[in-house]
């Protein structure tokens, strides 16, 4: 076996490992499931994905019962925050922050509350009538309901 052949075989091996790692990570990011949660007051029990995206972009000020919509998100530099940016906003974390800066600056919508931890997010949603938030798991917390999006409790 020549030195060149060994190099090619080693390269193939490492390339395969790198490829598997990349695919694995990619599947991880795209398949990580999110769940929409809300305070019992305000949000409906079910909604379409398009409605959820519209609400999370500040396009709705009040729920049908008149409660004010309050958006609660994980910070964009957290794992759940990053996935939320991709799946809900189809933007990078920086673009989402810029989007909200522009919107609140123009006075068209109130900026969301950004949280450091999932526990903090759950707590704010539970305490704020009309609050809606995004988690990376189905919540079992008290004072919280899970919204079915397109008929599913995660997406």
């Amino acid at each position: 076996m020549t030195f060149q052949t060994i190099c090619i075989r080693l390269n193939r091996k490492y390339l395969s490992i790198l490829l598997l790692l990349f695919v694995g990570l990619n599947i991880n990011a795209q398949d990580a499931a999110l769940t929409a949660i809300s305070n019992p007051k305000g949000a409906p029990a079910t909604m379409k994905m398009s409605e959820l995206k519209s609400i999370m972009k500040g396009e709705k000020q009040r729920w049908s019962d008149g409660t004010k919509v309050s958006i609660v998100l994980m910070k964009t530099n957290t794992a759940t925050g990053e996935i939320t940016c991709q799946k809900i906003y189809n933007m990078s974390g920086d673009k989402v922050k810029r989007f909200w800066l522009g919107l609140s600056f123009s006075g068209k919508a109130d900026a969301p509350t950004f949280c450091n931890s999932l526990a903090e997010l759950e707590s704010i949603v539970a305490q704020t009538p009309g609050a809606i938030g995004i988690l990376d798991r189905v919540s079992t917390g008290t004072g919280i309901k899970t919204i079915l999006v397109d008929g599913k409790n995660s997406f």
């Binding site: 396009e59 009040r62 004010k68 990078s92 920086d94 810029r98 800066l101 522009g102 006075g107």
Partner: protein
Amino acid sequence: MPRLKSISIIGILLVLIGSSSGLYSQTTQIRGFADVMASLQKEKVSFALGEQDLFITSELSDRFSFLGESVFRFTNTTPTKFSVSIERIVIKYNVAGNHNILLGKHHTPINYWNDTYHHGRVLFPTIFRPLLFDANIIPLHTTGISLQGHNLGDMKFGYDLMVGNGIGSTDVLDNDKRKSITAAVHIKPVEGLRFGFSWYNDVITKGATAHDGMILDWTVNQNLFTGSIAYFGNKFEVLAEATAGTNKTDTTGSQHTMAAYIYAGFKIKEKIVPYLRFDNLHFGQGEIFYNKNNTTSIVTGIRYNLNYVTAVKLEYQHQHGEKEGDTDRLTMQLAIGF
């Protein structure tokens, strides 16, 4: 009697705030914007401070909110060489759903740029505003009352109906009985795309001071019609706006002015956007309200967004004005938010 009226209005406001507050905890945010520049013009390099903009929002209650924007900028006429201006004070009351009443000093919702970018230079697609702003074609501010609705129905229809002190007035007193009227509508049929149209009317009394300090010799009936198309997608950005203005007096008749610009940007990467902008101002031959100076300009530049609150722009502008001839300028700007 006027005093009784004022007390009644204040009383109603207090009742509204009280009834909508419940257990509401007030949330106040203070943000700001600033920018610095360096420019090369006529073989001379100059450094310049831009504006420092303080921006405050506060949710006063479940339905009441406040927005304030104050700007500190260079002014040659004050002892300190700086001045402070109140750019916006808006108290918003959410009536129902996406319908609001707004009171205070607003950026007149006459076109997309004036209603979107305000004084946050980091959010501007180019370094400087389009020429129609510098030429005072449109009234930038209106102090008054406004009805506003947005994202209504599948087409995401929006409207603004504003009544306020007209041109020549101050933020505390109208100079005549006539009020300015702004009516604007827009739709957002698909993500990132917005079509808008507006109409502005004011009767500006003889003797009033116009935007550029000119004292009017005639009473002017002004109508401004503005159309705009904005598309900000993942790859392309396009913003085109045109204002057709008619200034009519009993003695000089109607004079027509057209001001327009088109901006286009292409994201070669998410953070890097080369762009172009073309501006054109065309005034009627006997224009009496605006400072007649037919001008064209082309701007080419590149924007690099370091992060969501920091942007560097490098821009070259060639301008041809009827009065000043050709001018060229190369400008670099660092704009931040904080």
